[in-house]
Subunit: 614 residues, 2 copies
C-alpha cells in the first residue's frame, strides 16, 4: 500500500495526514510518529511567535522541550528526529537560519515537462495546469521542511504561455490549493511571471513606465495575494534568452524591477529579478564580446537603484552552472543591492543525475571568495521530479538535502552534510558508510577531471549538455568559445585580453591576472596558454590535460567498485548500479574525445604512452 | 477565388474537374483548356492500349493527333502543351519512358509532419491520417503527370506506428479514396510498411521464415489490393537506423524481401527494398569500419537471390545524399538483381530549399559512371509540401520538374530541362531567362564550393543538416568522420586504407585509387592528404580549400545580384529574394567556419591574404 519512497526520512514511514494545517500540527505528528520508532520520548512543543524560524531544543525536569516560532518548532522537530536517527545529540542553543529566504526554483512547465529535469516529469503539473498527487506532495513538503527550504517557485523562469495563467483569475483557485498543501510544511509559493504579461490583456505595451502596465500589475498582485496571502513573491527572467524585458522599451533593469516591486510591496511580496542577461546571438567571429562580463556590465552600474523588496538573483559563476567557474564578479560589486545567490541542483552540466556529483564541497569553497553575508538569500534550481525517488539517481538526493543545510548555514561542513544524508538514508555499516561518503565527497573532483579541463567550460554536447563535444559550441551564437588551435587554447581574460578580470575586487583580480597565481583549476578560464606552457608542478599544459582525463576515468572506476560493495536497499541498489555503468561509459567517452581533440590539434603524445585515439 | 499556384503550368489556370476518372479524360480536359490559350487547335486523341505509357504526336490531313496508350495519351497531351508553351516543336516519333517505374517517395507521416521536409507540412496527412484538399491534390497530380512521374509512395520509409494503420482494414477506405484521386493522373500509390507489422496483430515474431508471418502478409496484401487494385507495391526500410528487419531473426535480406515479395506478387505488386543498411551505432574510435562500404557488404553477396518482383532501391552514393559522393559501388555490383536508383529532391544536405541547388547536372554526371540500364527504376525523395508553391523555394520546383524529365530519359540535357522549367514557369525576357538558367545550372557547383570541401562530406550541423559544423559528427555514432588533425585530413579508402575502392569495377577503382587520377572533387572522399599536398594545378590542398570557400561566396553574391534583376511575378519574387538573403548568410557562415577550422588545425595562412577569423 505504501509505495512512496521516504528518501532520507525512513524513520517517518507514514504520511503526514491531510488534516495537519499548521507547522505545529505537522511537528506534533512527526514527533509522535518518529520518536517512538527511534526509541525516544515524544517531546513537548512550545511556541514563541517572536522566534520565527528559530528554535531551541532543551531538557527540563527530565523532559525534552522544543521551543520555537510558528515555523521554528517544525524545524526543531525535524532537527531532533534527525539527531536521534543519526545517533547524535541535537543542536545546542537557539538555532536560526542564516538566510531568511531559502528558495527552490522549479523549472516545471504546466504541460508537465521540466526544463533541464532529470527525474521524470513535473510533480505537480500535467496537461496545462496543476495535477498532483497529495500524498507525494506532502512527502515532498516534509522533505523540504526537514532541511529548512521555505520557498518554492512552482514554475519555470522561462514562462510558457500556459504558465501565465497561473496568476490569472481562472488559475488562482488551483494556485491557492497548491499553496495550502505546502503551507503546513512552512513552504511558501513563489511564481515566475512574464514581463510581457500585460500584453495578453489588451495593453499594447509592457513598458514599465507606462501607467497602464503599472496599473495592471498592481491589480494583478492584489488578486494573487487575495488568493494566496502568504505568496513569497514573483520571480522574473527578463531580457534573457529571448524573454521580453525592459530593454525592449529603452528602460533599465532597475526601472523594470522596481515597477513590479511596487506592485507586490503592499502585500509583503518580494520581487526576485534574475541577473542572467547576455547576448545569446553573439557572432563567434567577434572576439571583443566576452559573455562572462555581461551580467556585471548590465547590473553593477545599477547598484543602489533597486527598491528594498527587490532581490537580484545572480548565478554563482559568470557563465551558467559549469563544472568550474570563478565566483561571479557581480556578486561582489553591488553592496547596496539585496542579492540572492543562485545554485543549480539539477545536474544540467554536471551529469544529468546519472553521474555522481555532490555539490556541498563546491558551495563551501565558494564561501571562500563570497562571504555569506554578501547575499541576503539563496536559491537553487530544483532537481525534483516525478521519479519514485524524486531525484532520478537516489544519491542525487544528497544535493537537495545538502542544499537545505547550506542555505540554513553556509558554513556547514560538506563532509558532515554528506555523512548525515548517507546515514539517515541508508544506515550502512561503518566502512560502507565511509565508502559512500568518500565517493560523494570526491565525486565532483572526479567528474571535473574527466570532463572540462582546467576551467575551460562548454565542451558539452549542445542541446542536451551531456557528453563531450569540444567544438559543439565553438561556431555558434552563445558566447561560449575555447578558441583552441594547433598552438594554444583558451581566452585571455586578463587586462591585456578581454579585461574580464578587471571586474573583480583587487585581491581576486591579482590572483587571477597571472597564470603564475591563478589556481590550476581555473587556468584556462582566465588565460590563453600554449600547449607546452609549463605549469607550477613542471608538467606541460597538454600533459596535464591528458593526465586529468586518464586519472578521472581511473578514479571513476575505483568509485564504481567501492560503491558496488554497498549493502543498499532495493531499488536504490539497482538504480545506483545502472547509473554508475552509464557514468563509466560517459567518463570514458569524455576522456577519449577530449584527449583526441587536443592531440589532433597539438600533435603532442602522452608522456606515459597511454592510448589516445587518432 | 483561384489561389492555387500553378508552378510550371501557368497555361492551365483552371482545375482539373473531379469528374475526370481516366487519364484520357484528363488529357481531353487539359487540351481543351490549354490549346486555345496557347493559340492552337485542340488535337484529336486516339488510344492504342498496346502503347502503354508511350505516345506519338503527329499531323494528318492538317490536323494534330495524339496517339498513345491509356496513360500515354496523357503524357502526349502534356508534351504537346509544353511544346506550345515553350515555342518549340513537339517531340517527333514514338516517345516512351526509359524507366517503367518513376517513383516519388514521400517522407510524410500521418501526424502531418514531413521528415526532412522543407515545404511545410504534409499535403495529405494531418491528425493521424489522410486529410487533404482535393483541389490541391489534383493540381499536384497534374504536376506529376506533366513530367511523367507514375508512382507516389505516400508515407515515410521510417514507418511511424500510425502509418501502419494505412494498410489495416480501418485505413483501407481512405487509402482507396486517395488512390482514386491520383488515378486519373496516371499516378499509382505505393505504401511504406514496417517489417515488424505482424507483431501488432498477435504474432509473436516477424521472422520472415515463420509461416504465421508469411500468412499474415499474404492476407494483408489480399486485403490491400482488394481496396486499391492498382497499388504499385510496398516499400520497406529494414534493419536500418533502428527499423526492424530480418537480421533480428538471423535471416538474410533476400529471405526478408522475398517473403514480402511473394505476398504482393499475385497482385502484380512490386516489393521495393531499401538498401540503406549501415551501423548507426559505430564507435568513432573504430577506424576499421567504414560506413560507405556497408551496403555493398550487405547486398552484393545476395545478387541473384532476390525474387523477380523485388526491386532493391539504392541511394546514388554510398553515404547519404551528400553534396558530392562517388556512385554507389552496390549499383555496379548486382547484375542479377533489379535495382532502383534513389535520388533526393528534398534538400536535406543541400540547402533546405533555402539555398539554390538544381540537381539535373549532378544526375547527368552520374550517368557517366552508372549506365542508365544498370537500374530498372528510379525513385526520388519528394520535395513537396503544403507551402503555396509546393516546394518551399519557388525555384526548387525545378528539381521536381527535372526529376520527371530525368526519370523519363536519363540522358536528358540538364540545361535543356532547366531552361524548359524556367521558360514554362516565368516566360522571362531572353537575357533574364538566361540569367536564371545559368544561376540554376551553376547552383550546385556554388553550393559545393562554399560547403563541403573536395568530397569530404558530413561537415553539416547534426540534426538539422543545415549550416556548418566541421566536427559536429566527428565523435559520434554515425560513421561519418573526417579525422582532420594538424597535419592532414580525410580517410584513406584505398587498398592501403579501408579498402573501399576495391568494391568498384576496375576502371573506377583505378581512377579513385590514386590522388593523381582521382577527380579533385572527390579527392578527400578517397584519400587522406596532408594540407601541403600539391594538387595537379600546383595549389596546396589547404589553399584550394580556402580558395573554394572564398570563391563560393563570391559566386553566390554574384548569383544573388543576377537574380535580383529578374522580373518575376509575385509572390515568387519576394520568396526568392528572402531565401537568397538567407543563402548568402549561410554561404558566409560556411566559408568562415570551414576556413577557420582548417586554419586552426593547419596553421596555414591564406596565400592571398584574405580574412580568415581566428
Amino acid at each position: 500500500m505504501n509505495s512512496i519512497r521516504r528518501t532520507w526520512l525512513p524513520y517517518l514511514p507514514e504520511d503526514v495526514p491531510s488534516h495537519c494545517e499548521h507547522c505545529a500540527d505537522v511537528a506534533t505528528f512527526e514527533l509522535s510518529l518518529g520518536c517512538p520508532r527511534l526509541g525516544a520520548a515524544v517531546p513537548e512543543l512550545r511556541i514563541d511567535p517572536d522566534m520565527g524560524e528559530g528554535y531551541r531544543i532543551f531538557s527540563k525536569d527530565g523532559k525534552v522541550l522544543i521551543l520555537g516560532g510558528a515555523r521554528g518548532v517544525l524545524y526543531g522537530a525535524y532537527a531532533l528526529l534527525e539527531a536521534l536517527a543519526a545517533g547524535d545529540a541535537p543542536p545546542e542553543g537557539v538555532q536560526r537560519p542564516f538566510y531568511g529566504m531559502r528558495m527552490l526554483d522549479c523549472w516545471d512547465n504546466p504541460d508537465g515537462s521540466v526544463e533541464r529535469g532529470y527525474s521524470g516529469r513535473s510533480l505537480w503539473f500535467e496537461g496545462g495546469g496543476f495535477r498532483w498527487e497529495p500524498r507525494r506532495i506532502r512527502q515532498m513538503g516534509r522533505m523540504l521542511a526537514s532541511v529548512g527550504i521555505n520557498v518554492l517557485c512552482v514554475n519555470n523562469v522561462n514562462v510558457h504561455p500556459e504558465a501565465e495563467g497561473l496568476i490569472e483569475d481562472a488559475g488562482l483557485p488551483e494556485l491557492a490549493r497548491f499553496a495550502a498543501a505546502l503551507r503546513p510544511f512552512g513552504v511558501r509559493l513563489m511564481v515566475a511571471v512574464s514581463f510581457a504579461q500585460p500584453m495578453r490583456h489588451g495593453i499594447p505595451t509592457a513598458d514599465p513606465l507606462d501607467p497602464a502596465v503599472e496599473g495592471w500589475w498592481a491589480g494583478r498582485a492584489d488578486a494573487v495575494w487575495r488568493a494566496v496571502p502568504d505568496l513569497a513573491g514573483f520571480l522574473v527572467k527578463a531580457d534573457s534568452e529571448h524573454n521580453p524585458g525592459p530593454f525592449t522599451y529603452g528602460r533599465s533593469h532597475a526601472e523594470g524591477a522596481n515597477m513590479l516591486a511596487r506592485a507586490v510591496a503592499p502585500h509583503g511580496g518580494a520581487l526576485v529579478w534574475r541577473a542572467f542577461v547576455y547576448n545569446c546571438a553573439q557572432d563567434w567571429r567577434d572576439a571583443e564580446t566576452d559573455r562572462p562580463m555581461a551580467a556585471y556590465q548590465t547590473y553593477a552600474p545599477l547598484d543602489g537603484q533597486f527598491d528594498d523588496n527587490v532581490i537580484l538573483q545572480v548565478k554563482h559563476g559568470p557563465f551558467d552552472f559549469q563544472v568550474r567557474e570563478p565566483v561571479s564578479p557581480t556578486l561582489l560589486a553591488m553592496p547596496d543591492t539585496r542579492l540572492a545567490l543562485e545554485l543549480q541542483l539539477a545536474q544540467e552540466y554536471t551529469g544529468h543525475q546519472i553521474d555522481l556529483y555532490a555539490m556541498n564541497p563546491m558551495w563551501r569553497a565558494l564561501t571562500g571568495d563570497l562571504p555569506p553575508e554578501k547575499v541576503v538569500a539563496v536559491a537553487a534550481v530544483s532537481n525534483l521530479g516525478r521519479d519514485d525517488n524524486y531525484t532520478g539517481h537516489p544519491f542525487a538526493a544528497v544535493n537537495l538535502y545538502g542544499y537545505g543545510r547550506y542555505a540554513w548555514n553556509p558554513q556547514v561542513d560538506p563532509e558532515r552534510a554528506i555523512r548525515r544524508w548517507a546515514r539517515l538514508s541508508y544506515a550502512l555499516p561503518d566502512g560502507q558508510e565511509e565508502a559512500l561518503v568518500q565517493a560523494l565527497l570526491n565525486s565532483r573532483a572526479i567528474y571535473e577531471k574527466y570532463t572540462a579541463p582546467l576551467g575551460l567550460c562548454w565542451m558539452v554536447k549542445p542541446g542536451t549538455h551531456y557528453g563531450p563535444d569540444p567544438w559543439g559550441y565553438e561556431f555558434d551564437l552563445w558566447g561560449t568559445y575555447n578558441r583552441a588551435d594547433r598552438d594554444a587554447v583558451g581566452i585571455d581574460r586578463t587586462a591585456a585580453g578581454t579585461g574580464y578580470v578587471l571586474q573583480y575586487p583587487p585581491a581576486l583580480r591579482k590572483r587571477y591576472e597571472s597564470p603564475e597565481t591563478c589556481p590550476d583549476a581555473l587556468l584556462l578560464f582566465f588565460h590563453r596558454l600554449r600547449y607546452d606552457y609549463v605549469m607550477r608542478d613542471g608538467r606541460t599544459l597538454i600533459q596535464r590535460i591528458y593526465d586529468d582525463h586518464f586519472e578521472g576515468v581511473e578514479a571513476a572506476e575505483a568509485m564504481a567498485e567501492a560503491l558496488a560493495g554497498l549493502d543498499l536497499p532495493e531499488p536504490d541498489k539497482t538504480e545506483a548500479r545502472e547509473r554508475m555503468a552509464l557514468q563509466l561509459k560517459n567518463a570514458r567517452e569524455w576522456r577519449d574525445v577530449v584527449n583526441t581533440f587536443f592531440r589532433r590539434l597539438s600533435g603532442a603524445d602522452d608522456a606515459k604512452g597511454r592510448l589516445i585515439y587518432n
